[in-house]
Symmetry: C3
Subunit: 211 residues, 3 copies
């Protein structure tokens, strides 16, 4: 399966940019909450927005990693930090759009991550794992650097890892079975996005052991 | 030195699986202690069980990393999380077997890590370092994600890094000197395992500066 | 651009060793502060001193990473831990020289990191990012393992990331434009070092959002 070209590439990169922006905003917001300075805001924005893709590329051996080559990703991540710097007084009113943007990013990262892993010779199970990590890895690095337990692991969290895993597994299976057209992959990203938003609206949660 | 085949490979993978299971159990247990949900239990189990091998493969350039190719490792790690989920009320009585299984894992990871590093062109000193990291890296990632100082670095800890380093150094030396047969490597893994268990039974500890 | 040879290589490695020593001392000191044992001191010294270079080599695909090949780096890092172990009562009086040594390390890592990234086919923007990370990455890993928010992100911190970024950006530009002789790169490392020390002496700080 070849890398997309023409308007398909524009579409994919456009949605990726939306996700990168949302991930960066979540990083910069946590930095403010943790009393970091603007360097911390920019740093945590970049880590959150590009960390998942870096983990993906390291694990599958796609070096230099994408964020070093397509450095518009770094620029979009810094723009996310700037948004928080300028709009911090009004940002709470933006939490609905940020949730939607973040869900778009989760969907496109999980599906694209699985596809890229298969492109690099990984089998379908490994590719499903890599795709899931592409979606959640940036947020895990963000929380680790902010000295917090990863949000995706906390018992009060809504579903985050599972929608990503559903999408990355379906994408890996589709590509493996030869039906992973760009249309199918796009619909799967949409499915992840929908599951993620539904999980917030409908208060879905997974069980935890009582301790 | 070639990868083992036949019953040798089965033996190595069998002991690896025992270690992966024990590492995964320690990850899932810490997740419960930290009030994570079942996603956190599964996530921390996988990170603890496969993290050391991923660090090894990243540092020596063996990509895609082993856990993506031999995905039975992911399955065994998830089984470890399931064990904790089902047996959590009785798990305290299991701490002796878990200690032994963990020591087996430490031994085989440290020795195998050093051997694989030399296979990938790393010199003996670097290989000893990589082998040690293969043994302790998963636990370090586990503690970092659970927002704890790594257990191996704490002053109340028994020996953990040092048995791994003894085994990985001896293994690297043996392979370098051409006497690293599978029998020798197996005995070195057993040595690591013994040193580790002895350190708990005999309360061995390293010094710390008074502060 | 070729790797330096002869006295140029000695010069670069000598200054690198000075930086590695200072980074290792900062790691071992934090380990003592966090009540770790000598294993923790050695571990945190090695992570702080070699972590930035490892991150660089992983992101650009230069594996096995440098610290595994040039293992004198591991030895110098352990020497840094030994310095803290032996001199801990007098180490507070050493904080001025350690600051200067650390600034030398920051300069040479940032500039060399950018140069090496370009050598591995990374473009100038990506190379500036990699060089900056080479300088600050070890300290970020140190703080993450010690369960602290990275010092470079904290609002009470002086400039650290920005001097590294200035130097790595200028180095990437110079190499890209074909004027990146060893003399120019050496002067840029000196500039980073000077900016870093000036930031401490003159109490430079970046703004933070009031929260």
């Amino acid at each position: 399966m070849e890398e997309p070209t023409g308007w398909l590439a524009v579409l994919r990169d456009g949605f990726s940019a939306v996700g990168i922006l949302a991930f960066a905003i979540s990083g910069a917001l946590l930095a403010v909450q943790k009393r970091m300075d603007v360097v911390g805001m920019a740093g945590l924005a970049v880590v959150t927005a590009t960390g998942g893709g870096m983990i993906r590329d390291l694990l599958i051996g796609a070096t230099p990693v994408a964020a070093l080559v397509d450095w518009w990703m770094l620029a979009v991540a810094l723009a996310g930090a700037l948004v928080v710097f300028v709009l911090h007084r009004w940002i709470e009113r933006l939490d609905r759009p940020v949730l939607v943007f973040d869900a778009i990013g989760l969907g496109i990262f999980a599906v694209e991550g699985a596809r890229k892993a298969i492109d690099f010779g990984v089998g379908p199970v490994g590719a499903a794992f890599v795709g899931m990590l592409t979606g959640i890895g940036g947020g895990i690095l963000r929380d680790a650097l902010a000295n917090e337990i990863p949000a995706v692991f906390r018992r009060e969290s809504r579903l985050y890892l599972l929608p990503a895993l559903v999408g990355s597994s379906a994408a890996a299976a589709a590509v493996e079975l030869g039906v992973g057209s760009w249309l199918v992959l796009g619909l799967l990203a949409l499915l992840v996005c929908g599951l993620r938003i539904a999980s917030e609206l409908l208060h879905w949660r997974v069980p935890a052991l009582r301790t």
